[in-house]
Amino acid sequence: MANDNWTVAGRSFTSRLIVGTGKYKSFEENAAAVAASGAEIVTVAVRRVNISDPGQPLLMDHIDPRKVTYLPNTAGCFTAEDAIRTLRLAREAGGWDLVKLEVLGEARTLYPNMRETLRATEILAGEGFLPMVYCVDDPIAAKQLEEAGAVAIMPLGAPIGSGLGLQNRVTIRLIIEGASVPVLVDAGVGTASDAAVAMELGCDGVLMNTAIAEAKDPIMMATAMKAAVEAGRLAYRAGRMAKRMYADPSSPLAGLI
């Protein structure tokens, strides 16, 4: 039970839950949810400062980047160039080279554009970035990303923000089997059992935002997700029983009166 850390690009973490920082009602609620989740990594977005009102409260005032690892994302980018530009700025703003790359294909589904994603991964890796890459749940695409320099493969379980849960356990499992870098389900988790399913399949971690932020009680859901990720991980390590087609009694048949 003791040490079950996971490592991405040489950095070791205890928590296998990564949480987003979008869609919360307030920074206070966001910070409380992060604390309840036990997450050691949070995703953040890069956006223009409001130069007309520079005194607005900042994320950094509530979630301390010295205590929680900021993972800058490229949400909203639809080309490799936009994503790379965003991450260059992120690296200058925070000094981080561990980043989350996502290059989107269309607004309706937010499905990744894999051609642009692969191209951006290669360029970023060449510039010294350590990209954790949001991608389709395709075992071949996952291998190609790894070859291009992805330090983690992050297939979607279902569309971003949908909360539909893992739609294809087979492809997620195949990606895990084929990968030599960490695999995290990114997107699609709706409730605790979805996170547990991902971990039971052998994922190294789960990344989620909306499932916590849009729960009626985000802090309680963050607690639930922490427990689900831990339970799923333990179940995976414990090794589940084989499935049977029919019943098998748990009480001995011998000595029946």
Partner: protein, 72 residues
Amino acid sequence: MSLDGSAGVTINGERRRVASNTSLAELIAEIGLDPLRVAVERNLAIVPRSTFNTLMVEDGDDYEIVHFVGGG
């Protein structure tokens, strides 16, 4: 460059006039931002934070000033 020597620049898509001989660090302070919490792009090139003090704002410059916000 205008008659009074001020520079016309674009910051995050907004036009602004800046006094002549203004450094980027002074521009960031004038806007009211903490230079340690932002990243700056000038004419599509990243400006290293270490050069904020020495980089002088020039007429026609196009700046993007970004920071971290909540996101998934």
